[in-house]
């Protein structure tokens, strides 16, 4: 591989980075944790000859509580999210998802902004961000704007980020204590496997197991991560039992539009989605699903 063909810009501050981006725009490839970009370099398929290395922007590495919101600096790694007490208490579904990304070595490098910017339909942190009503903050040298994560993606590898913008912050809503949640992923093995199907779900059940509300997001089954809106609607207000679980899981498997690729066929992915949704809701029905603990550790 010919490493010498690349020029790397390594700004020390956000302002400096935005200045370079304003000038270079699409000429530079952004690199944060490097878990995707370094593979492109190794394979000799990276189109851009200039890189904007974001790894020294310490001001974008933080996790802060702000009332009902958790603010996550764009360069926070998966591992930092996994170890954060506030994320564990109020957004544990994101912790579970991050733990399934690659393996420890990848979780120590990869960043939340990288997963968003890379815009793979199989990005495992993304379904939890959908059910946590995440917002993505984009900054350029001149302005900033905030886009809901559900509107951020345009297709595989395509986002609304303009060439002069950086993802600088992701905000997520805290999930209410007591809510049931699950993140389930089917890969070809436990570690370092890309999702065939992933499901993130937060469900609010009353004490008689009636569904007050439910949010279901799926990865790797459509051009972008998607909410299973129809299935959410048909489930809301109804009694959770085995028949309803079957109905919801079937609804989800019909609502998605998976492709056939090297990892699995359309039909296989539909069945897998059915299975993952069924399994997760079954656990919620039986009381073995995980629950959001909120501010108090060990309550649930």
């Amino acid at each position: 591989m010919n490493y010498s063909q690349y020029t790397v810009h390594s700004p020390q501050t956000l302002n400096e980075a935005l200045g370079i981006l304003k000038e270079k725009q699409s000429e530079v490839r952004l690199i944060a944790g490097g878990t995707d970009v370094m593979v492109l370099i190794k394979d000799g398929v990276l189109k851009e000859k200039e890189l904007l290395n974001l790894s020294y922007l310490d001001e974008l590495k933080y996790i802060r509580e702000d009332g009902n919101i958790i603010k996550v600096g764009a360069l926070t790694t998966y591992r930092e999210l996994e170890k954060s007490s506030v994320v564990n208490l109020s957004a544990p579904i994101l912790v579970d998802a991050c733990k399934t990304i690659g393996a420890t070595q990848i979780q120590n490098l990869g960043t939340l902004a990288g997963n968003l910017g890379n815009a793979s339909p199989a990005g495992d942190s993304l379904p939890p961000l959908y059910v946590l009503n995440a917002n993505v903050k984009l900054q350029s040298a001149e302005s900033e704007r905030i886009i809901p994560v559900s509107e951020f993606f345009l297709g595989p590898r395509k986002t609304k980020r303009a060439p002069n913008e950086l993802i600088t912050e992701i905000t997520i809503e805290k999930a209410k204590p007591g809510l049931h949640y699950f993140f389930k992923k089917l890969g070809l093995r436990e570690a370092n496997a890309i999702s065939l199907v992933s499901v993130a779900c937060i469900v609010d059940l009353d004490k008689d197991k009636k569904i007050n509300s439910i949010k279901l997001a799926l990865g790797a089954v459509a051009p972008t991560v998607m909410r299973a809106v129809k299935s959410e609607k048909l489930a809301t207000g109804r009694q959770l039992d085995l028949n309803l679980i079957d109905e919801i899981a079937r609804g989800v498997s019909e609502e998605i539009s998976p492709i056939t690729d090297i990892r699995g066929s359309t039909e296989y992915r539909r069945r897998a989605a059915y299975g993952l949704v069924y399994e997760g809701l079954y656990e919620a029905l039986m009381g073995t699903a995980k629950r959001v603990s909120g501010g108090i550790e060990g309550v649930y």
Binding site: Y6, I41, T104, N108, N192
Partner: protein, 155 residues
């Protein structure tokens, strides 16, 4: 484009001049003579090039040289103190935890991060910590024994 990068390698400050986008793995092997880090997949999937960066296990094939300025990098060589193997390395020897040995340094570094954080890890924690390392000879049971042994002995 070449850059000059200064960082701490196994406790000593080093400065290396090499292509800015070169991987840390290739830099360590080709420019700094550190051959314990092994090129396997060079895509972050096999773990043979694992090093500690600021105490955290990372695959050095995915780290760009331009990203290690002022960081602390530790490789297997750095675990040896005054010519004596680290208890973890010793345990790998005693348990016969390698066959061809190509994956061994990577496993040692992944296990090192775990033991630094959790001196007496459970079997599950060990399996999780080495989930990103592949041993094609299939020495896993002995690797796990070695890590368990080192966990018990170190503390």
């Amino acid at each position: 484009m070449d850059v000059s990068v200064t960082f701490t390698l196994n406790g000593k400050q080093v400065t290396v001049k090499a292509p800015a986008a070169k991987s840390l793995l290739r830099t360590l092997r080709e420019d700094l003579g550190i051959t314990s880090v092994k090129p396997g997949c060079e895509a972050g999937e096999c773990g043979a090039c694992t090093v500690l960066m600021d105490g955290k296990a990372v695959t050095s094939c995915l780290v760009m040289l331009s990203q290690v300025e002022e960081h602390q990098i530790v490789t297997d060589e750095g675990l040896v103190k005054d010519g004596k193997l680290d208890p973890l390395q010793e345990a790998f020897v005693e348990e016969g935890a390698s066959q061809c040995g190509y994956c061994t340094p990577g496993f040692v570094m992944s296990a090192k991060e775990l033991l630094l954080e959790k001196p007496n890890p459970s079997e599950n924690e060990i399996l999780e910590a080495i989930g990103g390392n592949i041993c094609r000879c299939g020495a896993y049971p002995r690797i796990v024994s070695a890590i368990k042994k080192a966990g018990g002995e170190q503390h």
